[in-house]
Symmetry: C2
Subunit: 133 residues, 2 copies
DNA sequence: CGCATAGTTGCATTATAATGCAACTATGCA
DNA sequence: TGCATAGTTGCATTATAATGCAACTATGCG
């Protein structure tokens, strides 16, 4: 994931999807790192779907991933000038239908389940794991 | 072109193309407005191609267009908070291969052909008009 | 060891997007 | 009035991308 090799259009392409914007907005707004199951419970989207979107964000140099046991924590890559400005832009986006506000509430509630700053409970919305009903 | 109806992913999608990034970077960096033939001579891309890319940028709320005789002048829409931050990001993008620097030189040279602040000469690179050879 | 579960990925399907060609409209000028 | 030219767009082709399903790997815990 060397940002030096990533073309600008790849960065914009990575954010040219509503689900990936939801992920990036959550992380930009909270400054948090999150594992896949926390994002599944926050965005209410299938695990496999978010896993693939996270991969795209990683390949675009926007996210870094750190594995910790069964969990993989994702966070926005900091310190790259144009990316830091991109995060500023994400934080300034309008939220006319309060959809992001809803994601944010879910995310904060989900983060309350952490123990010692780590996710320990797994996917709470069981229907979103493995198969969607 | 009411930016209120435009979703964030449409903005990023509009910039998820190298040619459209070249256009947006030129306008963000120079703060200028430009007509199609000036962009054709600066980017050295076919007229019909740039015309379509300009339309996509307009539909995403990034560009406004003003017609003046045969010429249509395009400029970045100003005063929208998240768009202004996007332009900041564009101005911060790296240019490792100096491709943007080259576009900028061509653009500035082309702007020297203006008379009274208006484009009056038409497409200089004739091969890029109507048909590409 | 063996199960539960966090996370990943191949495949098929469907939708979207970029491009070149060529025909089109619109406008100024001789 | 007719031509040159700035700019737009329909069409066909090709490439790329999003999704659901299902099978897969990896790791902790009893």
């Amino acid at each position: 994931m060397h940002s030096i090799n990533i073309q600008p259009q790849e960065v914009f392409q990575a954010l040219a999807d509503p689900t990936r914007i939801r992920i990036a907005r959550l992380l930009a707004h909270t400054g948090e790192e999150a594992c896949l199951c926390e994002l599944v419970d926050s965005l209410m989207e299938p695990q496999y779907k978010l896993s693939r979107h996270l991969k795209i964000l990683r390949q675009a140099g926007l996210l870094s991933a750190v594995k910790d046991g069964r969990w993989v924590y994702h966070r926005l890559v900091q310190g790259v000038p144009h990316l830091d400005r991109l995060y500023d832009m994400l934080k300034t986006l309008p939220d006319s239908d309060n959809l992001f506000a809803n994601d944010l509430v879910n995310f904060r509630n989900r983060m309350c389940l952490r123990e010692g700053g780590r996710c320990r409970v797994g996917i709470q919305t069981k229907i979103l794991a493995v198969e969607g009903e």
